[in-house]
Every structure is written in structure tokens, then in C-alpha cells.
Amino acid sequence: MNLTLKIWRQKGPQAKGKIVKYKVADISEHMSFLEMMDVLNEQLIYSGDEPVAFDHDCREGICGMCSLYINGEAHGPDKGVATCQLHMRKFKDGDTIYVEPFRAKAFPVIKDLVVDRMAFERIQQAGGFISVNTSGNTQDANAIPISKHAADEAMDSATCIGCGACVASCKNSSAMLFVGAKVSQYTLLPQGQVEASDRVINMVTQMDLEGFGNCTNTGACEIVCPKGISLQNIARLNSEFLKASLKG
């Protein structure tokens, strides 16, 4: 298929960006979206132009590195997949596709479509862990009984790959689905209970410091999330935060 691409180009963090139009021809419907971007970049390199910078790594939907706001939707028109697993069969011959970076004050553009998502790392560092004694007396995690229900729920939350699609789609650029998932994956398990209060307060404080907006429960994050992280995680974050605040 032949496509027209309208891509956000920006030389650097301080540079002024703009949408630039490109044409790509003979794109196979079996290609992934990122492979189509590779074709475009080869074309640009052959013609002596600067290739479009975009984030990618595993290309199998698990690393959370790929992003892109494609035709007005985070990770494009397909549901439950990251951009790397979006296939060109979702588009038609002659389509015009807008490709933009994830937009948020807390996700500044580094170059073209690459954004700095270190804010997520700093939130994780603020509390997304459990403290374990590693001096030789480490307790075997499997020795602690955990109900199947709690284990399943914690696992569902832990499938968050931290791609940032929730922030990109939220009209308020809120990171609460991400933070909710990260808080939940520990809080639901006995190992995470010990530091539960400090964790939620510290992670929410860091989230606010990074400049993310406030959740207004539009639910857009849940719809676009490639891993189907549910809004229950945000409710759990709210109740955990309230509990921790009231405890003082």
C-alpha cells in the first residue's frame, strides 16, 4: 500500500518542532508499524536526509520502549497492543497517518518522536520496590502463603510495561494508572505490605513533583493501555493513599 505520513520532526529538546509530510510506497500489510518506519528511514538515509528518531527495543510488546501517538491514538488504532505489535493491515491504501510523540510536560521531547520518560523511573525509585534482607538470611518468597486471587491481581498490575500511553492519552496527562499499577503490584502481596504506607505517599509525592496532571476518571488510560491495566488500580491507589495519609 502507498501511504502519506505526517510526522512530528524536532531537532532537539529546545528546538521548535513541526509536522513534515512524507510518502512511502509498497508497504506490506504484514509489516509492523515500526518496520514501516524503518522503510521510511532507509528512504531518508538514501536521499541524504536525517532519519526520524523513534523509540523501540524488543519489538515484541514487553519492554515498554516504543511509544508514538498514531492518528490521534496512543499506540495507534489497534487495542491491547503496543506500537511494535501494530500491523499495517490496520490501515488502508492511500491513508494519511499522523505520527506524533507522547505529549506531556513530564515527558519532554528529546528528538523527533523520542520523549524522556525518566519521570516514571524516578517515581519507581521513590517507592516501587520492597526491602529484602540479602545478608544470607533471605527468606524464600515461596515460603509465604499468598491466595491465588491476590497473586493473580498482583500479576495483572505487574504486567504494566511503563510505556506511558496512559499519560499520553489522558486529557490531564495524569500518570495515575501507571502509579496505581506499581503501587498495587506490591500492596496486594504480603511482602509489599510492610512498606505500603511510605511507598504510596512517596510515589504520589514524586508523581506530583514531576508535573503530571490530576486524574478525572475519563477512563481513556484503561482503553489505550497495551496491557489492559484496569481503573481498579487507580481506585486502589486512591484508597491506599487515603489510608496512609490518615495513619499519619
Binding site: 505526517k6 512530528w8 509536522i19 501517538y69 492518528n71 490521534g72 491514538e73 499522523y98 506524533e100 505529549r103 506531556a104 510536560k105 513530564a106 492519552s169 486529557k171 490531564n172 496527562s173 495524569s174 504520589v204 509525592t205 508523581m207 506530583d208 508535573g211 503530571f212 496532571g213 490530576n214 486524574c215 478525572t216 476518571n217 475519563t218 477512563g219 481513556a220 482503553i223 489505550v224 481503573l231 481498579q232 487507580i234 481506585a235 486502589r236 491507589l237 486512591n238 484508597s239 491506599e240 493513599f241 487515603l242 495519609s245
Partner: protein
């Protein structure tokens, strides 16, 4: 003038308060927003109940209105709380909106927001602004004349005046249209707001489906009740 002064001091108070701790966190602000919303949701039921009486009996409506207008507990305890609740909900709504808009400095060239969220959830500010504009009209219609009657002009108290004061307001078709439109926006606001307030307070469990369904029924029935009353008095002059 009094309202402007109150509002200005309230914003100042809120700013100090928000840097003090309790309301400095995004989640705490949302919980405060949800609590004030649920308080207003409860208030709407009371307001509609009293109004519905006007459809059935002039006498009962007058008695109920006289009670609401003269009972010291309602006048000097409940009314200030209500006033605080309304102002808090609006001011906090604006604060959150300003902060949220600041969280994205460059907008998308192409954004299909409708694919992942409802119109109501994305436009709470605008439905809220229509309700605010309506409240101004509503205060001019009922609250200011009432305050004038009781505390400024200090006119003799007549426990049978309320029904007539109500009916006279619904002679003009323009006012009726304004009221009906405002209630439609109230319904849109509640369609998202009702269940959203529960989510903000951390409640998302096996009851959520029932809360959502009840919220939808509430969001339609309550405004529809107010619309019915406005139309009833317009057609029964």
C-alpha cells in the same frame, strides 16, 4: 460584592491551605472534590423533594418553604455549609482544571479523544460553567429576593407567599428554556460525576457496576424532575 469578597478570601484561604499539607497532594484534592460533589448530590435530592411539593399542593409547598426559610438550624448551620460546599466545588474544580491544562504544554495535531473517553468526562468544566451561570440566575431569581425580604428590607413575614413567588418566575418562556437547558447540562455533569466521585474516593469493587447504574438513573431522574417542575408551572399559570 459580598460574593466577590467571599470568593477572593476563599481563594486566598485555599491557596494557603493547599500549601499547608492536606490539599497539597493531587489525590487529596480529588477526594475533597468528590466529597463536596457527593454532598451536593445529597442536597439536590432535598431540593427536588421540596420543589415537587409545589406540584401537588400549594399549602404543603408553602409550609415546607416557610420551614426551610425560617428554621434557624437550616438557615444558620445548613445554609452556610451548603454555600461553602458549592463554592469549594467550583473553586477546586477550577484549580484542578488549571493544573491539568498545565500538564500538557503542546497539544496533539490529531487527537481522537472520543475513541477512549466519553464527551461528558472530558467536558466537566463546560457543563460545570453552564451550571455556574445557572446558579447566578437562580440566585437572582430566588436567593437575593429572599435575603432582601428577610434581612435587608425586613418585610412582614407571610407564610403563604412562597408558592406565588415560585409561579411568577415561570411566566417567561425564556427563563423556562434557560432552566431546562441548565438541567440538561446538570444531567451531563452528573452522568460522569456521580460514579467518578466514588472512583476518586478509592471505591472500585463488586458494587461499582451498581453504583454506575444508580448514578445513571440519578443523573437522569433528578434533572428531569426539575425540568418537569419548571414546565409544570409554565403551563399551569
Amino acid at each position: 460584592m459580598v460574593v466577590i469578597l467571599l470568593k477572593r478570601n476563599f481563594v486566598r484561604f485555599l491557596r494557603i491551605f493547599s500549601t499547608m499539607g492536606i490539599l497539597s497532594s493531587s489525590i487529596a484534592r480529588k477526594v475533597a472534590m468528590a466529597l463536596s460533589a457527593l454532598f451536593l448530590v445529597f442536597f439536590l435530592i432535598i431540593h427536588l423533594t421540596v420543589n415537587v411539593l409545589s406540584v401537588f399542593s400549594e399549602e404543603v409547598y408553602n409550609t415546607a418553604s416557610h420551614f426551610m426559610g425560617t428554621n434557624p438550624l437550616i438557615q444558620f448551620a445548613m445554609q452556610p455549609v451548603l454555600f461553602f460546599g458549592v463554592v469549594f466545588h467550583f473553586v477546586m474544580g477550577f484549580i484542578l482544571e488549571i493544573k491539568n491544562r498545565g500538564a500538557r504544554q503542546i497539544n496533539y495535531v490529531k487527537n481522537k479523544a472520543g475513541e477512549s473517553s466519553s464527551w461528558m468526562s472530558r467536558n466537566m468544566l463546560y457543563s460545570g460553567l453552564v451550571i455556574l451561570a445557572f446558579l447566578v440566575l437562580h440566585f437572582i431569581d430566588f436567593w437575593f429576593p429572599e435575603i432582601n425580604h428577610k434581612y435587608i428590607a425586613v418585610l412582614p413575614e407571610d407564610p403563604t407567599r412562597y408558592f406565588e413567588e415560585l409561579q411568577v418566575k415561570f411566566i417567561s418562556p425564556y427563563r423556562v428554556v434557560a432552566y431546562v437547558l441548565a438541567f440538561v447540562f446538570l444531567a451531563l455533569h452528573l452522568l460522569h460525576g456521580f460514579q467518578s466521585s466514588f472512583q476518586s474516593m478509592g471505591m472500585n469493587n463488586k458494587y461499582t457496576k451498581s453504583v454506575k447504574n444508580f448514578g445513571k438513573i440519578y443523573a437522569i431522574i433528578i434533572p428531569l424532575g426539575f425540568i418537569f417542575i419548571a414546565l409544570f408551572h409554565y403551563f399551569n399559570q
